[in-house]
């Protein structure tokens, strides 16, 4: 995994998650129906993430970022296959907990890769550049999906996002000579 591939990877998963997150609320409206249920769904997500960070942090330094990123991608790809089948609020709670774990994996790995790559003196510029591309991908995905929902169903969006995650997981597992570059 070289740095360029990492940027492409982050762009892809940024697109995939931007496709679902703003529109995910439409799904919740079908499944749940009160603000407190919304609150719980997102609260559980953040809470599980908080619990997982210390463990993930330790694993990251031993197992390597690439492995964690691939776990995130494949995990999300599989979870999104379950979403269209969810029809009870407790299904959504469980999925939110799983996504909380994976979200923590992604957030932590994103930062460790950056930390291992950037040079202290130019860190500001490099991280700025990094955010340009990932944000552009996310913006394109959000705007595009707004139109897609008109053409497809909300469930199809989950499947499309799932396929994108699978593709990102597939590409990140590609063997690379510069792999060691990111190992501590």
């Amino acid at each position: 995994m070289n740095y360029k591939r990492f940027i492409v990877y982050q762009g892809t998963i940024g697109m995939a998650s931007s496709m679902i997150f703003p529109f995910y609320i439409l799904m919740l409206r079908n499944v749940g129906n009160s603000y407190s249920q919304f609150g719980w769904a997102y609260g559980l997500f953040a809470l599980t993430a908080a619990i997982c960070y210390p463990i993930i942090g330790k694993i990251a330094d031993k197992a390597g970022d690439q492995l964690l990123l691939s776990i995130y991608s494949w995990g999300m790809a599989l979870i999104l296959l379950v979403f269209p089948l969810a029809n009870e609020i407790w299904h959504v709670y469980i999925l939110q907990i799983l996504m909380g774990v994976l979200g923590a994996v992604q957030k932590n790995s994103e930062k460790t890769v950056l930390a291992r790559h950037v040079v202290k003196e130019t860190a500001g510029k490099e991280i700025g550049n990094y955010h340009i591309w990932t944000s552009i991908a996310a913006a394109a995905a959000i705007i595009g999906t707004g139109y897609l929902v008109d053409f497809f169903t909300i469930s199809s969006i989950f499947y499309i996002a799932s396929a994108l995650f699978a593709w990102s997981g597939f590409s990140i597992l590609k063997k690379d000579k510069t792999l060691s570059e990111f190992q501590a």
């Binding site: 494949w74 790809a77 599989l78 296959l81 379950v82 269209p84 089948l85 029809n87 929902v149 008109d150 053409f151 497809f152 169903t153 469930s155 199809s156 499947y159 799932s162 396929a163 699978a166 997981g169 597939f170 597992l173 590609k174």
Partner: protein, 476 residues
């Protein structure tokens, strides 16, 4: 290698997910409202008890509240709404009360849907005689609009009703049938909820059969002859459907027809067929989405429809499955636009001339976004007071995409009134459950017994207990 293994696992699980997803797509989406008529009601009442419904009427009498009766609320002209009235939601009132497989009759509460009945009777090898093409509507709602569908052999919905029970404005329960309280019976079926609350209905059923699908393409000027010679004259054809092109290349010229022909029964009785669930709707939804956009999209949509109709030629399907078609792909949510329906009836013999005139009317209406026209057949039937089938007619259902702002409503209204004028010129009529674009004069011309209908309303419900916006707009 690991990643290929992972990919394999993923693809497998993808198919598992899709499989279950298709399987569980059962519940139809009920909320409709084309959002042209948002109405504030005083209260919404809903119950599954007859006594409580009776109480709602008695309370409304003492409080002088108007009641609007609602099922799935797919009518689009405020037939289920009245400002500051009580909305009586009948959906939970949906029990199956009696069923006789020998006599082929079923008695159901009016909030039950056609789907509920199909699920119940399919194992007995029985099917509905007449219902809409979609099965998501309630029985009470369909009766109140005197719906029709693909069937060409069993007349209108009113012909399949043995009897029904009506809760009237005094809170009393009456039994209505072609023999009993006939006048009221003929007003209530196709009565848009203005005479009372339909409590339960006894319907006559028929045998479920296997049909072979035949599809063909033809030109609009051949259609009437084709229909007379190959469809209505051939007793084995039980159901029929046609569509006419809205593609710029063949606008209102090219058509295709789909006939459902009964197969020789192999064993008696036929084995119950598995009821089909809605399949993936993303594909039709996508092509309909293209048609909304522009001319090129309409071209693609028409080509897809033709390809699809050709692809089902020769397939075999049970009657029950024909009568539970997919409608969800038409669900449309857009902040500023909505989709409305129109339906016009025109005598079979006048079809060709009518289409020529309709084309002339629409040719310069570039902003009028017409997406689809489906054609069915209704036999002459004047049993209901508000009967649309003054002779043997083709019915054309038009799907129109329009804006929700005042200007769009005005523009669409003008085009619709023009189209209705053309329809009336050919001895036709139009269907009443849609948005109130037509004028009172047009209603009176399309329905010669309009005056009688409103007089009956005055007679049976003098205090105006049962009200809706449709009545308010059109009473004369």
């Amino acid at each position: 290698m690991k990643r290929y293994l992972m990919l394999l696992v993923y693809v497998t699980l993808l198919f598992v997910s899709l499989h279950y997803f298709i399987d569980q797509r059962a519940e139809p989406i009920t909320e409709d409202r084309n959002r042209l008529l948002p109405v504030k009601m005083k209260a919404i009442k809903t119950t599954d008890s007859t006594a409580e419904i009776q109480q709602v009427v008695l309370d409304a009498n003492s409080e002088e509240d108007p009641i609007a009766i609602a099922g799935m609320q797919h009518s689009q002209g405020g037939h289920t709404e009245y400002p500051d009235g009580i909305l009586l939601d009948m959906k939970p009132y949906n029990k199956i009360l009696a069923f006789d497989a020998e006599e082929k009759t079923i008695t159901v509460q009016s909030g039950a849907t056609w789907r509920d009945i199909q699920d119940y009777i399919n194992p007995y090898g029985l099917a509905l005689k007449v219902s809409q093409s979609q099965n998501i509507f309630t029985i009470g709602g369909s009766l109140s609009v005197n719906a029709h569908g693909l069937d060409i052999r069993h007349g209108s919905l009113i012909d399949t009703v043995e009897s029904l029970r009506l809760l009237d404005a005094n809170g009393e329960i009456l039994t209505l049938s072609p023999e009993q309280n006939t006048e009221l019976f003929q007003a209530v079926v196709g009565g848009y909820g203005l005479f009372g609350i339909i409590l339960d209905v006894t319907l006559r059923l028929t045998d479920d059969e296997m049909y072979e699908i035949h599809s063909e393409q033809l030109q609009y000027d051949d259609y009437s002859d084709y229909f007379n010679e190959n469809v209505i004259a051939d007793d084995s054809v039980k159901m029929h459907l046609a569509r006419i092109s809205l593609s710029p290349d063949s606008y209102l010229k090219e058509m295709y027809v789909i006939n459902y022909q009964a197969m020789e029964p192999k064993g008696v009785p036929m084995d119950p067929q598995k009821l089909r669930e809605e399949t993936l709707i993303a594909v039709p939804k996508f092509f309909l989405g293209l048609a909304r956009l522009n001319e090129q999209g309409k071209r693609t949509f028409w080509n897809t429809q033709k390809t699809y109709s050709a692809s089902i030629d020769g397939k075999v399907i049970s009657r029950n499955n024909v009568m539970r078609s997919d409608s969800e792909f038409m669900e449309y949510s857009h902040p500023e636009n909505t989709e409305v329906l129109q339906e016009y009836f025109v005598p079979v013999k006048n079809f060709e001339a009518y289409i020529d005139d309709l084309r002339e009317t629409l040719i310069d209406e570039e902003d009028f976004n017409l997406l689809n026209i489906t054609i069915r057949y209704v036999e002459k039937n004047e049993k209901a007071v508000l009967s649309y089938a003054k002779e043997d007619m083709f019915s054309l259902v038009l799907l129109i995409n329009q804006g929700t702002d005042a200007k769009s409503i005005e523009d669409t209204g003008r085009v619709v009134r023009n189209m209705i004028d053309v329809t009336l010129d050919y001895g036709g009529s139009y269907y009443l459950p849609y948005f109130g674009y037509p004028t009172k004069e047009q209603m009176a011309e399309a329905y010669p017994r309009t005056r009688e209908f409103f007089d009956l309303k005055e007679e049976y419900d003098p205090s105006g207990r049962f009200m809706n916006i449709f009545y308010e707009e059109y009473k004369q």
